[in-house]
Symmetry: C3
Subunit: 214 residues, 3 copies
């Protein structure tokens, strides 16, 4: 039988790996060197969970006492930097898929860890979204691109939907791992669907001053 | 009789509301969607107080255990996004006034909370300024504009003056709420005066290399 | 006899001073006012150590309980702002040297403080690098230049090398101050050497999509 805790730990490492991949990829696209790639990969992989642990009362930051995610992210970053050579739009697509997976893993882990700390459901869902999006935001700021979360696409929305889905599954008494996996898939598939269908949230209403661009 | 604690709580919510307004306004000016507006509103409303609580020893972060400011900021962000349609310079002016009010509320709350933690007056004034300016700095970085605090205007100066005013009022034995309100008005009016009169701190001395712009 | 703790405290103040100098210099180059210079100097001087103390379990943030580094950084910022008027490339060179010194002091202090908290050697070296580079990263983001750490130069690498050197000196049973000084010089000289010889880490392999610039 698979224990819930092992699954959580595994999913945490998986999330770190895919976010590290996305960070190293973006760093490579921006012509950074291998250390730049490692730095960007580490902040992408660790950023969201670090902020979550700082915000949760009395929590040590997860990677400070357990170097596994740091090692995993570094290895993935180096491998990505030296082996991945996509041309044209392929790297952009790989980046978007890895980012969606990281968003999904980290959102659900953030919700679970916050609820386990006795935080209210509303704030726990918010913590999940923080865990999911902050790493990618720092990655994009360091790489000087507009953060994905701020673009007019279903991004934070997918993360929030996954958090709410996790809460809604509570009364169904599923095996913990099932609940986790369903919520992760909710975020991941919603995000991919949004990318595929080019879904976006509605624009701001007309009539605003349109002279100023971004 | 109005109790000091209720006033503080009320002023905290007011500060969150005006900063959320300023964040949603700026997000709308930058053509973000409604979720981008909520994100920017939340970080503007919560950013300064969050950093203050992280820095103060043994403090839980205020909104993690009490969702009220989160709810207030979200509601204000959504209302602002869908109803506020200023043209031309009106939105810029509303933004500056809301930002000045948020700066004022949060500066004084930051000073009070730090002193209550037994922090020295010098660092407490600095904590007040951090509480006041950090939310706006993150808002401006997310919206890709130069942070107001770094522009050559009386901004951090107004915040510092309010903190010093709060300290100076100590020996006068006012009712706590009076002391708070006077210090808040000091920041707010100084900031508005600076905007009105186009006051600025002195430029750096001549002779610097002027080839590089911002 | 010089006690280890006094040396650490002294090096901490020295690190704050050179980073404050680098921050005020960069702010002056960007035509900020004196308060902008103080803000940039403070975040450069305090940023890395603040993040380190937040990440280390149960540590108060160093400057919150001891205003000395704040005062030192502020004084240096004001003096730099009003007296330093380099022309041409001189300010750029002074900035690079001060930044290298700050990187060296803070890296080694970060490693020492983390080891003293019982953190594993691997993560302690990483904490040293965080302490060394984060202040400069925030400085560069606030001043809207590409963070030095992300440019293709030996920067984080010098910091990591100093941290590893500090660990390797452990079994030699030196006087603590000697070990500290040797590790500091390792970072500083490596960084200066890299600047002098224009050393850089290898570029990403060819074949990447080169159409997108930074």
């Amino acid at each position: 039988m698979i224990r819930g805790l092992d699954i959580l730990h595994l999913f945490g490492l998986l999330g770190s790996a895919v976010f590290a991949f996305s960070g190293a990829l973006e760093a490579g696209r921006k012509k950074m060197d291998v250390f730049g790639a490692i730095v960007v990969a580490l902040v992408t992989a660790l950023g969201g969970g670090t902020l979550r642990d700082l915000l949760l009362p009395g929590k040590p930051v997860f990677w400070v006492t357990d170097p596994q995610p740091v090692i995993a992210a570094t290895v993935v970053a180096v491998l990505t930097f030296y082996t991945f050579r996509p041309l044209g739009t392929a790297s952009r697509r790989a980046l978007l898929i890895a980012d969606a997976a990281g968003l999904a893993f980290f959102t659900v882990l953030g919700v679970e860890k916050s609820l386990a700390c006795g935080i209210s459901p509303l704030i726990s869902v918010m913590m999940g979204t923080i865990t999911g999006v902050v790493g990618g935001i720092i990655r994009d700021i360091l790489c000087n691109t507009i953060p994905m979360v701020l673009q007019r696409e279903i991004y934070a929305t997918a993360s929030l939907a996954g958090g709410v889905m996790y809460l809604c599954l509570g009364p169904l008494h599923l095996i913990p791992a099932e609940r986790t996996v369903i919520a992760i898939l909710t975020v991941f598939l919603l995000r991919l669907l949004a990318l595929r269908l080019n879904l976006a949230l509605p624009k701001p209403p007309e009539g605003r001053d349109s002279a100023e661009g971004l």
